[in-house]
């Protein structure tokens, strides 16, 4: 027994010392980390919901969804600006995580942001480009309707058809994946938060 303790003394001492040091550092850095995560969501909301100008001034409250996820109710302090939620699905290279924005009445799609993706650089990861994300914005102030699913088309969509989204050249699978994630979640979330 004594021999056993003698041999392992160094390991035990180190474990206790480093354990307490780590606990101390964790206590000091974790609030900052959580703040960073919140701010990252706020910045994404800023680019997703029209009217959300200043990320620092946004008031975001969380609403529980039936599948265990969360929806964010976004307001600028006085006026409800819209709703946002995080949706996940399979892309070409792995999971894609989107932030989807709905309007204040939760009746239409007003914008998306890509939070995380592992799509092929130069092709699939063009879903991060402004030119692609802008296809999901309000058109002339009118949000995209949620009553029917969006469809991916290869040619320029017909003028006035809000259901058609033109695919990115060379990245049809990634384009379809994004649209599929939105179709599977948007109307359901809208129904729950309304």
């Amino acid at each position: 027994m004594i021999n056993f303790l003698k041999q392992s003394a160094l390991v035990l001492i180190l474990a206790v010392v480093f354990g307490s040091v780590l606990a101390l550092i964790y206590a000091n850095t974790n609030p900052l980390y959580e703040h960073n995560q919140k701010m990252a969501i706020k910045y994404a909301i800023q680019t997703t919901i029209p009217g959300a100008k200043d990320a620092a001034k946004l008031e975001v409250s969380e609403v529980e969804l039936s599948d265990g996820g969360k929806a964010y109710q976004v307001s600028d302090g006085s006026k409800l600006l819209g709703w946002a939620y995080v949706a996940k699905g399979k892309g070409f290279g792995g999971d894609i995580r989107l932030l989807v924005g709905l309007n204040a009445q939760a009746k239409g799609l007003v914008g998306i942001d890509v939070l995380e993706d592992v799509e092929t650089p130069g092709f699939g990861n063009s879903i991060n480009k402004e030119s692609w994300k802008s296809k999901f914005r309000t058109r002339n102030g009118v949000p995209l309707p949620l009553d029917k699913p969006l469809v991916v088309v290869k040619r320029t969509p017909k003028a006035g058809n809000p259901y058609q989204i033109q695919a990115i050249t060379g990245a049809t699978i990634s384009s379809k994946a994004v649209v599929k994630i939105i179709n599977e979640t948007a109307s359901e979330v809208a129904r729950q938060v309304k």
Partner: protein, 201 residues
């Protein structure tokens, strides 16, 4: 001092000893990531060499790897928490590769081969040399890859406007190609220098 120089070129951990290749291939798509990774590893290496060297009298031969791992893991966790708190974007970009410094074989190799047998100062010199050598190698690879893949260096545009980006350099094959070519060039230069040395009387 000799130990310090040793790590940078003559025994560069990546280009000569071919250690720590996982982060070398994974995080060299752009220079900022490479520098952060290199400095994080240097910090861990410095601290682990310091502790191993100070504690070497108490090391039990059969428990030494366990002790090395405890020390390394503690400092890697510190770096990870620090990055998450103060460099959130970078921490997202490097993803799992910061926690993976724990199994970076440069660090455990230096603890085993140098710090557990040397006095404090040579161990620290060795850690700094190896760490900066690692950072330097990462930066060389990242410079080549970022310039060819994006036409930029540290996000500054360096290539002409009509330059076509080599997408492959951003992907895993680009990492392997660049790595092989850089190691090859390094070996070629080394051989030339040695030939010149031996041909002199």
């Amino acid at each position: 001092m000799a130990r310090f120089i040793n790590g940078i070129l003559p025994e560069n951990p990546v280009l000569r000893l071919v250690l720590g290749i996982c982060p070398t291939l994974a995080v060299t798509a752009n220079i900022k990531g490479a520098i952060t990774m290199g400095l994080a590893a240097t910090f861990v290496l410095f601290c682990s060499n310091m502790f191993v060297s100070l504690l070497k009298r108490f090391l039990q031969p059969h428990l030494r790897i366990l002790v090395f791992t405890i020390i390394i893991a503690a400092f890697v966790t510190i770096v990870d928490m620090f990055l998450k708190a103060y460099m959130y974007e970078m921490s997202r970009q490097l993803g799992p590769y910061i926690p993976l410094i724990i199994v970076n074989c440069i660090i455990i190799a230096r603890a085993e081969a140098c710090a557990s047998k040397s006095k404090l100062l040579p161990s620290l010199g060795d850690a700094l040399g190896m760490g900066l050598g690692f950072t330097l190698a990462l930066c060389i690879l990242a410079s080549i890859r970022e310039i060819l893949a994006d036409g930029t260096w540290l996000n500054m545009r360096v290539m002409w406007d009509s330059f076509t980006p080599w997408t492959i350099m951003k992907l895993a094959p680009g990492a392997f190609l660049t790595f092989g070519i850089v190691v090859g060039i390094n070996n070629f230069i080394r051989r030339k220098i040695e030939e010149r040395k031996s041909s002199q009387p």
